[in-house]
Subunit: 418 residues, 2 copies
């Protein structure tokens, strides 16, 4: 089964919003063994939506349409699809009730354009929207000697994902139960480059057919994706686990976990749990980024106690009690200040470990220090404080912050693995 | 000129990474008056890249290809394009020198697959990569009685954006200097729904031809996009400014700034500057999100002093000094605790305003409180503390955190506007 995703919306096309729906749908499809072969974005324009449907129906048999189901005049996805299929639109009674109830509960008057959201296509199956007002639908068509499935979902990611998981995935799973599956497994490494990894795996890559091996690089990180075509999930899992373990053993020092998402924070939270240690942080240039990422990880509540965002220099004195003279003598971007931040945070919070970050995110320099100059530190009970200097030159502000985050997490990783 | 963006990469297609390049390119094109009509994603597969090129060259005349220029075997974008154009590949001398210098400076041995990154297409113009190793290129083709421009850029967003801004935009600007321009302007509102806005603007929307008006909704927010076709940028700017001001006046209470990005944090930072006030925060369920977003805004250093992430309940005692009895009596998710957090943060940091957030992000409930129950507070010198209770039910963790963030920023907005 070949999937294709068409996202509809001028706001996507113009770049005003990022197309996260395409990646979310593709990931969920992969999870049930279906590969996405094409993704496209078209504006709220009937000719171009129609053209996208023509192309998609000629080459794919599972076609997702997301977006363009809202109440405004330019939301026309269902209208164009209905015409393309030669079917009529009608109001789904249940969804209409939901729309009406919503406005009643909110004590707001329902405007006539809201009715549009309850529209669905004759001959299809309505997917009720539990999280919003626009109904989705599934329509099955026999065309060119094949069965084509059209799945229409709303644009707002939260509504889309809910309907995808609750209704669409089970439906597709039942349809494809008897076909083959594609599965993937991801191996994440930190502190290595793409070509180094490619070289280390060249023997495996050169002979790859099934599973295949692909390497993706991000700043200071590399992800290796293994993909396997098989008959059953069980077979697939065994083969992928074995190969993944074989690869992990070649990179034990750099391994930071399996999984398709960036999981360094999760890896750290899991390692802290394993070692029964708690962690706090004092952040300056990252302004809360490290704590936000760590606390966004499920289960963080047990091991991440919290911390300080001492963004203005003065707050390092007020919140942490670092003597002003120390900051004056060493400047705020210094190994000494990073060390003081980590030590004092350890003592103030009572956690087992404390990390700190101070530096220049840029684009401007700070007290004579260039953008990208950063000090990160790790304090632990009965251990000398470790401080590391980073020079992340020629990178924009958000990359400097991100690299600083990863480096300080790497200090935690190395400390726990000692 | 009709632009089309083809992003190449199996990692995009499978949903492993989100296609931010498409939105970045589209935004920059819009900025120089060029509309993007199609976006697509194909995997690292020569047949499908070729098919995408066939379709694109039949309907568009400015074709962007991003991704697939890396050193690994599956990076084949330039190879496929060269074949499609009937041209040969060669190594660009300058880029090759850069690759060699890079490995020399890093004291790493250069592997043979790294040479691939310096490849370029005969008859085209190489775009040197200042931020990475893979060269981009521009190729001009006369086909079907029109001129088609192919722009090849690397996949890593930071490299791509730099080359786009430094090399490609000036190039395109010179090519299209004599054609008409499309410009857009965005108006952001908080605390209103899409259909309410549509209704309030129905007189303008029904008669719209040029400029056009489109409405986009996110949780609790709405963005109105105005788009105008004209001959010059100056004319366009005048017309859009006038219409935007007319619309803004209909929503003065909800207006949170102009601009194509989510700018509530920037709006707050600007308002703080205007009123000469500093702000600190104490965060619990948001774990640093609010401070991170605020400090990520240019100019935040003048008005955002920092704050506390009191993630574990115990830290509200340790860091802020809230008496344990108060937390026991009211529970940690309570108006009283939110009030104490804000007041104590105000006093500890010495800022003019302090905000606080405590609540349940979910998915599990906390001490009997359901997910989505949140208290936000605002403390200011010589004013009673304001506390607001939120019940953000049926939303995932990250939406609860985001809505809580926006609600507490809205408290700051309303306070400053009083």
């Amino acid at each position: 089964m070949k999937a294709e995703i068409i996202a509809v919306g001028t706001e996507l096309l113009m770049g005003y919003i990022v197309n996260t729906n395409a990646s979310d749908i593709a990931q969920e499809l992969l999870d049930i063994g279906i590969g996405t072969y094409y993704q496209s974005v078209v504006g709220d324009n009937s000719d171009r939506i129609n053209e996208a449907l023509e192309i998609a129906s000629s080459r794919s048999d599972l076609i997702f349409l997301s977006g363009g189901l809202g109440p405004t005049e330019d939301d026309i996805t269902k209208q164009v699809l209905a015409e393309f299929l030669g079917e009529e639109l009608y109001y789904d009674k249940k969804q209409l009730e939901r729309v009406e109830t919503y406005f009643k509960n909110q004590n707001r008057e329902m405007t006539k354009n809201n009715y549009r959201q309850a529209l669905t296509i004759k001959g299809g199956e309505t997917i009720l929207n539990d999280m919003g007002l626009a109904a989705g639908l599934i329509y099955t068509q026999e065309k060119n000697n094949k069965t084509i499935y059209y799945i229409v979902l709303p644009g707002p990611p939260f509504e889309m994902k809910h309907m995808l998981n609750e209704h669409v995935k089970p439906y597709i799973r039942s349809v494809v139960a008897k076909q083959g599956v594609i599965s993937s497994k991801y191996i994440n490494l930190y502190g290595v480059g793409e070509s180094f990894v490619a070289d280390k795996l060249s023997d495996l890559i050169e002979t790859q057919t099934n599973p295949t091996i692909a390497i993706y690089a991000k700043p200071k990180r590399v992800t290796i994706r293994l993909t396997y075509n098989s008959v059953t999930y069980e077979e697939s899992e065994d083969v992928l686990d074995e190969l993944a373990e074989q690869i992990r053993q070649r990179f034990t020092k750099h391994f930071i976990g399996y999984g398709s998402e960036q999981l360094f924070e999760k890896f750290i939270v899991d390692e802290l749990k394993k070692h029964n240690k708690t962690l706090s942080a004092a952040e300056s240039l990252t302004g809360g980024l490290v704590l936000e990422k760590l606390t966004n990880t499920p289960g963080a509540g047990d091991v991440i106690v919290g911390g300080f965002v001492t963004y203005q220099t003065e707050q390092k004195v007020k919140m942490l009690g670092i003597p002003e003279e120390i900051i004056k003598e060493h400047t705020v971007v210094s190994a000494k200040v990073a060390q003081e931040m980590a030590e004092r945070t350890l003592n103030l919070t009572g956690s087992d470990l404390a990390i700190s970050l101070t530096g220049v995110a840029g684009p401007r320099s700070l007290e004579g220090h260039p953008p990208g100059k950063v000090f990160v530190a790790l304090a632990a009970r009965n251990h000398p404080v470790q401080v590391e200097e980073l020079n992340i030159s020629n990178k924009p502000r958000h990359v400097v912050r991100e690299v600083a985050e990863f480096e300080v997490l790497n200090l935690v990783k190395e400390f726990l693995n000692k």
